[in-house]
């Protein structure tokens, strides 16, 4: 069968992927630059086709708690927002992590703090990767660098979030959300039936039948020894997540220097590599695809081979600290970035490489 190709915005790709992945529900609240997700879903009326629930909630707080309610029933449920709205969702995300619920959260990041700007940014890196809400927890964090990856990471995100019973965040940005690219669409997957859910997710609140004890979804443990045991279990799970680490290496074989960048920064670095190589600088790119789990092992490996790494980020330098932790001082690690919704340009990235690492 011929591949089904379509020219789409990143945000639209997310919505189309949700329908085709057999998602059970989407709950959202408008905010630029991601409102197309809800708009597209409402336009497609999946509730008439697949039975998928689509609802505009009264706030991001309500939306994430709807995700909690639906996920507790063992269903594939998702929400999307941008930075200020993601801050509001942190309470619910923490509860989901504590209650060990799956679920998908898209953050199309814009510049902050506060209301900030509606222009693209990566300044929510720390919030996404270090937890974000209260308590010791981690999410699976996927960083798409193309519209195709926006599409693909919906199914991947659900898969990982059910595998680990941990919410997955797709950490995108205004560039990837708004730009249009060709997307290869997948076949429609049917939604799980109630019977399938009961079988696959015996922990879910599907109604207490005579053959099992009642199911309780909660993040509450009043006794500290029980809570610590729960924390240890969560930490062990986060450790195990490392087996699903994903990254991409671009022209790394002969590289003497490495850009480390994710999302749209990584796209710009590809151009910067071309420019640098024309000047005779052997530089490659290591692109973390999972920001959590972080590709520390591969970064550590390159630390023995290269003369330095430049973390290129659309923020004040957040991922750079994780790179430094990974290399353990084995090589020089510097940061270059822009903030406030300004996108770095390739020539400035090369200049930063020259002044901070090669000349320095």
């Amino acid at each position: 069968m011929a591949k089904e190709l379509r020219l789409m915005k990143g945000n639209e790709a997310i919505a189309e992927a949700a329908i085709r992945a057999g998602a059970d529900a989407y709950f959202g609240y408008p905010i630029t630059p991601q409102s197309e997700v809800l708009e597209y879903l409402m336009g497609e009326k999946p509730y008439e086709k697949t039975g998928m629930v689509v609802l505009q909630a009264e706030s991001e707080v309500a939306a994430i708690n709807m995700v909690y309610g639906g996920a507790s029933c063992g269903r594939k449920v998702m929400t999307s927002s941008s930075s200020p709205g993601i801050s509001l969702k942190q309470e619910g995300i923490s509860y989901m992590a504590g209650a060990e619920l799956p679920g998908l959260i898209l953050n199309v990041v814009r510049g902050g703090p506060g209301l900030g700007t509606i222009q693209p940014s990566q300044s929510d890196y720390n919030q996404a990767v270090k937890g974000g809400g209260h308590g010791d927890y981690k999410l699976v964090v996927l960083a798409p660098a193309s519209v195709q990856e926006m599409y693909d990471f919906v199914e991947k995100g659900f898969e990982l979030s059910f595998k680990y019973r941990t919410p997955t965040m797709i950490l995108s940005d205004g560039v990837i959300g708004q730009m249009m690219e060709k997307v290869e669409l997948s076949e429609y997957k049917p939604r799980w039936t109630h019977e399938e859910v009961v079988k696959m997710h015996p922990w879910a609140t599907t109604g207490k039948t005579a053959d099992r004890e009642r199911n309780i979804i909660t993040s509450l443990n009043l006794q500290s020894d029980v809570q610590e045991e729960h924390n240890l279990k969560l930490q062990a799970k986060y450790k195990k997540m490392e087996e699903d680490v994903m990254f991409e290496e671009v022209m790394c074989d002969d590289a003497e220097y490495l850009f480390v960048a994710f999302g749209s920064s990584a796209r710009i670095c590809q151009k910067a590599i071309q420019n640098a190589r024309e000047k005779g600088i052997k530089v490659g790119l290591l692109r973390p695809i999972t920001l959590s789990p972080f590709p520390s092992v591969i970064i550590r490996k390159y630390a023995d081979k290269v003369k330095g790494m430049l973390s290129v980020e659309m923020n004040a330098g957040q991922m750079v600290h994780d790179i430094k932790l990974a290399v353990e001082g084995k090589t020089k690690v510097e940061y270059y970035g822009r903030m406030g919704g300004i996108i770095p340009i390739p020539s400035d990235i090369v200049k930063a490489l020259e002044t901070k690492l090669i000349g320095g």
Binding site: G69, G70, T205
Partner: protein, 258 residues
């Protein structure tokens, strides 16, 4: 005739009342005399009598009844403070043939969760909201609630609620009765056998409306006591409730289906 022994009396056919199997054997953690336990019981009795254990999902709040799932022998979710109606919305929309209820205190429902409450009801979510109004934050040690009466003392208004500074008690039930999505709104109590019977009848109606009529949210308020928070004996608390709470929160139906 031979004298009746204890064994002669304790027989299945003589049983006039027993604990529903939808309550677990765990001892209630509520203070003696607290209305939460009675409210739990009648709610579970209704679900039991309807034969709906396997098709019910309940949502527990944050408040003294956060542990409702320890006592109710059904599938339950515990919500963040005030968010229960958002959870209930998703559960019911995803599993429309299940019976879905939230169980919430006055701080949970009428302060931090006001937005979730009003919007779920305004959308006409086909769920039951059980609202336990004891005029105080029981769980956290008796602080002022949105429902605390004028001049009533609480730990954060130790000289009584001064409405000129602290605002007025919120009759949220009257407010939500105005929403088109509210189908059945009633205010009950559970401190006397007569009130228990009426409250149970209201819950039964709410169950039937949700499962058979499907025309919007049912909202059953139960004006209850908090003898610990009110710093009274259970008997004093019930009397105080009749004398002070009921005039401000009068019992009876507020909105009934046409």
């Amino acid at each position: 005739m031979a004298e009746l022994t204890f064994q002669d009396i304790v027989k299945e056919e003589n049983l006039v009342y027993k604990k529903t199997s939808l309550l677990t054997d765990k001892a209630l953690s509520y203070c003696p005399g607290c209305g939460h336990g009675t409210a739990h019981r009648i709610l579970m009795e209704v679900i039991d009598e309807m034969g709906y254990q396997d098709k019910t999902v309940g949502v527990a709040p944050v408040g003294c009844s956060v542990l409702a799932y320890e006592f109710m022998n059904i599938d339950m979710q515990q919500a963040a403070h005030g968010r229960a109606p958002a959870l209930g919305t998703a559960i019911k929309r995803i599993m429309p043939n299940h019976f879905v209820f939230t169980y919430q205190g006055d701080g949970d429902l009428a302060a931090i969760g006001t937005a979730e409450t009003i919007h779920a009801i305004n959308r006409g979510e086909n769920i039951l909201i059980v609202f336990i109004n004891n005029g105080i934050y029981g769980m956290t040690g008796g602080q002022m609630a949105p429902t605390t009466l004028p001049n009533m003392k609480a730990s954060t208004c130790p000289f009584g609620r001064d409405v000129s500074i602290m605002g007025n008690p919120l009759r949220i039930t009257e407010l939500i009765a105005n929403l088109p999505g509210a189908y059945y709104v009633t205010r009950q109590a559970v401190h006397t056998p007569n009130n228990v019977r009426k409250a149970k009848k209201a819950l039964k109606k709410a169950f039937e409306y949700q499962m058979n009529v499907k025309k919007g949210t049912c909202f059953v308020e139960i004006v209850s006591n908090c003898n610990s928070g009110w710093k009274m004996t259970p008997v004093q608390a019930n009397k105080w409730m009749e004398d002070n709470m009921f005039p401000y929160y009068p019992l009876g139906d507020i909105k009934v289906p046409e």
